[in-house]
């Protein structure tokens, strides 16, 4: 019997998938050991099939791949081609009123701010113009800044999902006082005005974490920001996973596993965790989207990654000023005149990436659970 079954699976696996694989059971396959009419379609194959039909999610996914490749592989190449790095300042990158130059400008490399440029001076190309009064290259900063922003967002999401998964699963599975404690902590985190917590943490502990870079793998300040953002966003996945585990633990397969003597740890790891893959993947992409915006929010507080290291958040906030050096009742004030481009570029970068993560998340949600209406 066992031998026969194996040969059925092997037989079907060799078959190419039909053009439109339906859910198994739609048509009863002819029982034959060598060939079967309908190949069984795996869980992940079904999801991929549904996702493939969702054109918008595919566009979002493709855009994200482009963004990642351009940021992580493209940044050094672009920097090499134009011949300057993200933090290099050029005197002529801004005019006399310190208004940054516009896109596609050949900036002379000179140490004099005034007067005509002597003939024969070398020029360097600013593809998207300069970023501000210091005359740094907007494009190169945008690329390197994107790396930092995405590292922070991904790191924070890993922390938030890891914490949320652990606490949510424990609360949902064990119930009782574990659940009460976790639920109270969740309420506490939800009720706390996030911004005030951020300011407090940002001004106290981040100094100690800023220099942890894991031997230069991460940029400076990434680790502390990722921890801070992760610590304030974990309650969202925790609540979702708790609700899911509460539902799953009453299922028969859990009962069966317990009956054959599986330990709690084994049930959680082997039987519950695979069922949680769907919500984890979906919510990770949605949380990633909000974390990118949060990084910008923290930069608006003036507590983000320290300058001159660029992030999308501090490139945006340097156009508007930060919150913490304001007096009440006065609107934002800058000592230089920002150009349209210097806020347009980071807004487009943040906006399109956030939109793509959110769109992909929505598509994944539909693909994982087509009947879901959420």
């Amino acid at each position: 019997m066992r031998h026969l079954r194996r040969s059925i699976f092997e037989g079907t696996r060799r078959e190419p998938l039909p053009a439109l694989p339906g859910v198994p059971g739609g048509a009863v396959p002819a029982i034959s050991v060598e060939r079967s009419a309908v190949a069984p379609v795996g869980y992940w194959a079904q999801i991929w099939h549904r996702l493939r039909k969702d054109r918008f999610a595919l566009v979002c996914g493709a855009w994200l791949i482009v963004v990642f490749v351009v940021l992580f592989a493209g940044a050094p190449i672009v920097s090499h081609l134009v011949g300057h790095g993200p933090d290099e300042q050029f005197l002529r990158g801004a005019d006399l009123s310190r208004k940054p130059v516009g896109p596609w400008t050949h900036v002379p490399i000179t140490f004099s701010l005034y007067g005509p440029v002597p003939p024969g001076t070398k020029h360097t190309l600013f593809v998207l113009g300069a970023d501000g009064p210091l005359g740094r290259d907007e494009l190169v900063r945008l690329l390197y800044g994107g790396q930092v922003s995405l590292e922070i967002a991904i790191g924070a999401t890993l922390i938030a999902v890891g914490l949320g998964l652990t606490l949510g699963m424990a609360a949902g599975y064990y119930g009782g006082w574990t659940d009460s404690v976790v639920s109270r902590i969740t309420e506490f985190t939800m009720g706390f005005p996030v911004l005030l917590l951020l300011i407090a943490i940002g001004t106290t502990i981040s100094d100690r974490f800023d220099f942890i870079t894991f031997h230069g793998v991460l940029n400076r300040g990434v680790f502390s920001l990722a921890i801070v953002i992760g610590l304030i966003t974990w309650f969202y996945p925790a609540r979702i996973i708790r609700a899911e585990v509460l539902r799953l633990r009453e299922e028969e397969f859990v009962e069966a596993a317990r009956m054959v003597g599986a330990s709690n740890r084994r049930i959680m790891g082997r039987h519950l965790l695979p069922h949680l893959a769907a919500p984890i993947i979906v919510y990770s992409s949605l949380i990633l989207a909000t974390n990118i915006v949060l990084e910008a929010s923290i930069s608006f507080l003036g507590l983000g990654v320290r300058l001159p290291t660029a992030t999308w958040g501090n490139m945006l906030s340097s156009n508007w000023g930060t919150l913490l050096n304001l007096s009440p009742g006065r609107s934002l004030y800058l000592a230089w005149e920002p150009s349209f481009w210097t806020s347009f570029m980071p807004v487009i970068a943040i906006g399109s990436t956030v939109l793509a993560f959110a769109g992909l998340g929505e598509g994944l949600r539909r693909a994982f659970d087509p009947r879901s209406i959420q």
Partner: protein, 344 residues
């Protein structure tokens, strides 16, 4: 029912304690020396005297105990390090944030509800997708940017709305006249404003900015609720009886779908303060958010712990009270929940 209320009240009070205690401890960690900042040239004994007057020479727990005792015994939030009575500060700032949050929540419902209805009735179509993406745009652009764009367009380009500042609903208030740097300061008495028309005109853009911040979440949530309710048996029955779609929506769907939204609104008050900080900064409204920022950044002197604590306390109390009220109201509005709870 009484036991239920008592339990909720107890956990609410515990939450209040936890929130204020954590705020206290975290901010205690921030190196700040209020006496030194208030009086830079003082001698050590004078500094000690000021420290004693401010009450910062005690240990954290004693200070926290004093803070709680003052509230319980006298309803007094204490004295700011340099801003006088905290009660006065909060009393001046709270109406502004309240106007912002209540009006913003109304605008949010007015915006999110039609959008959610549209996308629920046209579920899984291009319209649905477009509504979702449009609402996500509100969060993809930071409230700072949304606020600045709105202000630039309606105030800078169209000149139809004021650029900021607050007008009280009751009574009048002097405005700082708008003028550009380099031009002479406008002569004559400063313009005053007040009343419903001025109030709403000045707050319209802040409300919109505030609503944009929460829009995607609410659109999605209301849409899900509507779809869920549309699939209920009683809706199918109503449809089978030949009720018109409009009647079904009005009589059967809306009330049931909208109930959970009230809970969400109450729960989001903590986040609302975060949003309020940004909105108040962009539009220069001196509400709780801006007061908190001023207290933290030390805009008027040293970093002002009592003010921050008071604001966290006020916001946390609002959350606890609102959640409790909504929970109670819920039982009356939806009998199914009351029945389910009573045997337990």
């Amino acid at each position: 029912m009484a036991a239920q209320i008592a339990r909720r009240l107890l956990s609410g009070i515990l939450l209040l304690f936890a929130l204020t205690l954590v705020t206290f401890v975290i901010y205690y960690e921030i190196p700040a020396d209020p006496a030194k900042a208030l009086c830079p040239d003082c001698t050590a004994t004078e500094i000690k005297a000021i420290d004693h007057r401010l009450g910062v020479d005690e240990s954290v727990l004693v200070q926290y105990g004093n803070f709680i005792w003052r509230i319980v015994r006298h309803g007094d939030l204490g004295q700011g390090f340099n801003s006088g009575s905290v009660n006065a500060t909060v009393r001046a700032a709270a109406p502004i944030t309240l106007s912002l949050v209540v009006g913003g929540a109304l605008v949010l419902l007015l915006l999110s509800f039609p959008l959610a209805l549209l996308s629920a009735l046209k579920a899984q179509t291009v319209v649905d997708r477009a509504v979702l993406m449009f609402s996500i745009l509100g969060i993809a652009l930071h409230p700072f940017v949304v606020g600045a764009i709105l202000r630039g367009f309606f105030n800078g380009d169209l000149h139809v709305l004021p650029h900021g500042q607050y007008c009280p609903l009751f009574g009048t208030h002097e405005l700082v006249p708008e003028y550009k740097i380099g031009e002479p300061y406008p002569a004559g008495p400063p313009p005053t404003c007040g009343g419903l028309a001025d109030w709403s005109k000045h707050l319209l853009l802040p409300w919109l900015t505030f609503a944009c911040f929460f829009l995607p979440l609410y659109v999605r949530m209301i849409r899900a609720r509507l779809l869920e309710t549309l699939g209920e048996q009683y809706v199918v029955t109503a449809r089978a009886k030949g009720a018109s779609e409009l009647r079904i929506l009005r009589r059967h769907v809306l009330k049931n779908a909208l109930l959970p939204i009230t809970t969400m609104l109450a729960m989001d008050m903590g986040t609302a303060l975060t949003a309020a900080i940004y909105v108040e900064t962009v539009f220069g409204l001196p509400g709780l958010g801006l007061s908190a920022i001023a207290a933290i950044s030390g805009a008027n002197g040293p970093f002002d712990l009592p003010v921050i604590l008071a604001i966290v306390f006020v916001v946390a109390t609002t959350i606890v009270v609102l959640t409790l009220l909504v929970d109670l109201a819920y039982g009356f509005l939806d009998p199914r929940i009351r029945l389910r709870r009573e045997p337990a």
